[in-house]
Symmetry: C2
Subunit: 380 residues, 2 copies
Amino acid sequence: MPFAFRVAARDGRARTGHFDTPHGTVATPAFMPVGTRASVKGVRSDELVALGTQMVLANTYHLALRPGSALVHELGGLHRFMGWSGPLLTDSGGYQIFSLSALTQIDEDGATLRSVVDGARLRFTPESVMQIERELGADVIMALDHCPPVPEARAAVEDASGRTHRWLERCVRAWQAAGGVQGGQALFGIVQGGAFDDLRARSVEAVTSHDLPGYAIGGVSVGEDRVAMRRAVEAAAPLLPADKPRYLMGVGTPLDLFEAVRCGVDLFDCVTPTRHGRNHQAFTWEGRLNLRNARHERDPRPLEEGCDCPACRLVSRAYLRHLCQAGEMLAAVLLTQHNLRFFHRCMEAMRAAIERGELDSLRERIDRAQSRGLASSEPA
Amino acid sequence: MPFAFRVAARDGRARTGHFDTPHGTVATPAFMPVGTRASVKGVRSDELVALGTQMVLANTYHLALRPGSALVHELGGLHRFMGWSGPLLTDSGGYQIFSLSALTQIDEDGATLRSVVDGARLRFTPESVMQIERELGADVIMALDHCPPVPEARAAVEDASGRTHRWLERCVRAWQAAGGVQGGQALFGIVQGGAFDDLRARSVEAVTSHDLPGYAIGGVSVGEDRVAMRRAVEAAAPLLPADKPRYLMGVGTPLDLFEAVRCGVDLFDCVTPTRHGRNHQAFTWEGRLNLRNARHERDPRPLEEGCDCPACRLVSRAYLRHLCQAGEMLAAVLLTQHNLRFFHRCMEAMRAAIERGELDSLRERIDRAQSRGLASSEPA
């Protein structure tokens, strides 16, 4: 089988595991950097490997617009196109149906979106999305889902969940027609259900009625507060099959990852480390640093003692602050690399703690990592 | 002695050599990437090493403004500050006296400039520049020169040359008071003389009346045409002492470097490879490529077969074109790295050709490298 998932150790509901794909095995729980347009912003693919990245996410909607999935296919698929030989996942465009909702019309058959590149109309159906994702050629492909814009509006959430389930059936048929897992791609279904425990449970039931290589929790991190987000994960994750990887989409901060790992989630993606890096914020075990802050001006220390990222090996906080002040591109590059390394180190720490049966002992440390930094005077 | 220059091979007036500094030996002729604000834009210091960079230039004027030379000194000097452990050169701010001439007032004692950061008045004298460069702590420090704005205006050129020579005397005194080469820094004097052969010769005489560890040709690449620039190099370079490194400031394209090497120049710096990279231009032995051009859209080839830079090892022209079109930061990063590697490969080819006594056979190849690319339809 080209795909397999084996649980290695458990600690409460949390688990470590190994997810085999045609492009390598992912040690879980794992964090996937976001390479929206087939590029993790500012970081080369060989540097991702050095930073501890095991699997990368790319974006179906954006790549369908530019350069187009047919072109990527002609050039040998997304792995070769972006020079990344490890496991790769493409989302389905479902999130963009939500995030670009002012430009979107949804009907039973699919969604009509506007191109952010040139304003052209774009039609996404379950079948067309499976075709696009097949041409892109990632290891894991996500089903097209309907992510409700307001996770607290019950009628809208029910409507979106029902459509997500019907679209999933069509995705599964298209995927199976292309050979299923034997075609080299693992289809993951997406659970919806907003902020309602019963709708989450019903969505898990509908989605897991298909025997798929993995399942995802969607419709989170869409504007709801942190409590609602965690409740949705707690409602859905434990109900998902224990022998399949569970992927929480678009989440989040280190503590969000930790809480979800405690619920048994295995895979994550988020723009947090890369976007914060471009905004001159660095994650450390002692809190988040704003490198524009004057208190770093004369600080000869690395961002974090013991970190093996290029920034921490090479330069000081004072230098990084200088790059930020001077508007040097290298600031974003170095801080992005540090943050990615930090997120991967968080996951490594969680995997090690689960193996020792001591995951809960990490909580305080993880919580501190996303606080506002060492000094209370630190602006966000 | 902390500094020494040994000629290894000759081919006509061209030569290879080794320039020893306290931070390592430079095989010449060599190209120095420009790290204006203590950062070669988008490239980490460890990546510079991997690209074949032997020595880096940083900018005294910009670093004096921000973060300030005292801060750099407090943090252990420029090498430690920017994480670059190899040889380092700082210019003197003389070029900014020229390039910011609308904001500059020159008198016999020095120059008053405006800060590009905050508009503050800044006073540069030979003594203050030596002090700033001592605090920055580069291996090679440049004397403060007066670069005439119009190299064809004889009276202005004579005036600027004379002032450059008088300022050099003061620089030499300040440098010797700090220990001369035993202080760990090699002072290079700068020849002026504009577009006039006799003024160039007189300037060489005045500058080389000081026994310095190296000499530079300045006042070129300041708006004059290529013929005038080459003539100025031909007028000055052969007159400089054969046993000292000769540095041509701010030049240029591959063919400019080749022509200057033929005149016996050993060291170069220019923003050409880095700036062109940010503008989506790639140098290859077959000509310069504009990666925004549609003809690269489906091209699976690397920028250049046989190039060992990260871009050529990892991805295709089609991918790089996609990054350019999508406005991805990684485009500038990868193209900058390729261009730096290309410039270093040009210098490697010149060194090897000199050793074989075949430098002239490289001319056609070098000339093609800066042409407009393979297709005549290629826009600049």
